[in-house]
Symmetry: C2
Subunit: 109 residues, 2 copies
DNA sequence: ATAAAATACTTTGTATTGCAAGGTACTGAA
DNA sequence: TTCAGTACCTTGCAATACAAAGTATTTTAT
């Protein structure tokens, strides 16, 4: 309940949205995604992202392809499926509603 | 992972922020808070809010006062403590950062 | 060749927390 | 005095963020 985990708490659920935004741009593999999230100031660790990617893949929202790397082991490049793109629209909408809610509560103060 | 709980997932952590926004306006009791959240389009149930209020109180961020009602049992009116007001500032800041992150990821698409 | 380092993916255990469902207690009216 | 209404609380479950440790592959250094 201390300030250490304010962002941690708040970003629950948001991480999924951010991951979709990144993958809607182009396919990426885990380390790639983590780097892009860091560039956007959202710290995420492997232990969080890998299970998330697996869940989304099992849910049919993501798919992946093994791509060989010139600098190490092969990588799983994830991309949105058609269903995933539909889902992203829902996430956009949900995000908009949350923002409306917060703005509504702010204004009425 | 289906659309049913998109908002549910995304609002995790946001609920706390919304509760603070409501209580920063004026003291309120649980049913009051739930009503205001509903007015702002955020559905919350008792089983979620009561433990949240208790956690925040135990964390020293909220305090309450028993106030008698003319229409039923007495009510616990919660209000922000000084520490709670500081915490709200942190929540505002964290929310701003999350927004920046999302906008950054949107723009770079 | 072989060991060490780097890279990438995975798994396990823990803590948090949203929620459904059910429970307790007080008040006032039929 | 029973019942409906209101308010607060608790229990059990599921989801998930994270730390930490583990497995596997590739590259680099010796």
């Amino acid at each position: 309940m201390k300030s250490d985990n304010v962002q941690s708490q708040m970003r629950k659920g948001v991480l999924e949205y951010c991951t979709f935004l990144i993958l809607s741009k182009r396919p990426a593999y885990a380390t790639d995604i983590i780097q892009q999230l860091q560039d956007a100031r959202l710290i995420v660790v492997e232990g969080t992202l890998y299970p998330l990617l697996t869940r989304l893949k099992n849910g049919g929202l993501l798919e992946y392809e093994w791509i060989e790397s010139t600098q190490g082991p092969p990588r799983k490049y994830y991309a949105l499926t058609g269903e995933g793109r539909e889902f992203l629209k829902e996430l956009e909408s949900a995000w908009g509603e949350i923002n409306d809610t917060i703005n509504h509560l702010k204004i009425n103060n």
